[in-house]
Subunit: 206 residues, 2 copies
């Protein structure tokens, strides 16, 4: 499917809308509105309407959005009406926490592979996974057809791991190492670094 | 110190610049430039110059920036030339991972308190911390003067915890629960939800 060029910042808000809709569904709410979503999310109602209108007509003036329908549409747009396998690289504290993380269930992802280069960790169980040797990572990921990986190795090794993941055919990397990565244009990278998020807030503290 | 109104998105980039500068320092690099930073970070050199110029004159045309000096200035601007105590709420997998997390060292933060409401966890050691009863959280945080907290409880309890943190005087919350929080205007919230970051990337995958 060819994508029209929709700003990345709008794409980034869709999962937030979906998360709110799924909480409404769990609570049994059938109908919502841009105003209702705005009150929950803090984005303006106008922005929510404008964002959603980029992808089609999901609601009617005056009647709002059907929660289940809009939720289903957003899942299709985000390509998560399937479960994606995800590889974890690094079986230290962060990688282990990701292997145990319950927050991926029903949200389109499952960790299926975990790698480390530490002989003391290889072969050990982490969550439901057995730690495999990073030396076999490229081949294993390629053969499994896994397209998404999370990097949880020390900063000094992250670029090397990213290069290997690209070689293995990975197209989306969630990087927990506190360092910027260089990847080809067709590979997407998102960063999670709690210290930078805290530092952003301390700017505002006395 | 009165802050001039600098867009939040610029403040959010300062920790990324600082992170790159600190890696340069570790590698013994003395001088950098907006072009050098641009190559490492993927932001344009013009944007980096413009962002930094909001806060003062840190470099000279043609000679670039002194890495150590700029790094020190950014730490001062971000208020992290001290170590902030941080409270963790929730001693499950995510909270425990945060208590063990080595990524806060030298970046301005240390976890000093952890709370849970589960009697099986209260009194147990997690990292260097003893899990305390959430029932005593408001008083304990207020007495300790802790201004920063990380929420790592299930989504259904996150708002209630946020309300208590606000009551305790917390001004900055890093929320790992996959739900938007409602807080007073003078309290800052940042969100970490890996599933939303992965969902943003799957949009682009076939």
């Amino acid at each position: 499917m060819a994508k029209k060029a929709i700003p990345d910042i709008i794409i980034g808000r869709l999962p937030i809308y979906l998360r709110a809709l799924e909480r409404m569904q769990q609570a049994g709410q059938k109908i919502t509105s841009s105003k209702d979503l705005s009150a929950r999310l803090g984005f303006s109602a106008a922005q929510i309407r404008k964002d959603l209108s980029q992808f089609g007509e999901f609601g009617k003036q005056g009647t709002g959005y059907h929660v289940e329908y809009l939720s289903k549409q957003l899942r299709a747009i985000l390509n998560i009406n399937k479960v994606w396998d995800v590889a974890i690289v690094g079986a230290g504290d962060v990688g282990s926490a990701l292997a145990h993380y319950k927050g991926f269930v029903n949200r389109g992802f499952q960790a299926t592979l975990i790698f480390d280069n530490d002989p003391a960790k290889i072969g050990k169980k982490v969550g439901n996974l057995i730690v495999q040797d990073t030396a076999e990572m490229v081949q294993t990921i390629r053969e499994a057809g896994v397209k998404i990986a999370m990097i949880a190795v020390p900063a000094d090794h992250a670029q090397e791991v990213a290069d290997q993941l690209v070689e293995a055919g990975v197209k989306a990397i969630l990087n927990y190492a506190p360092v910027q990565l260089s990847v080809p244009e067709d590979v997407h990278v998102e960063y999670i670094d709690p210290a930078t998020r805290l530092q952003k807030m301390t700017y505002y503290l006395e």
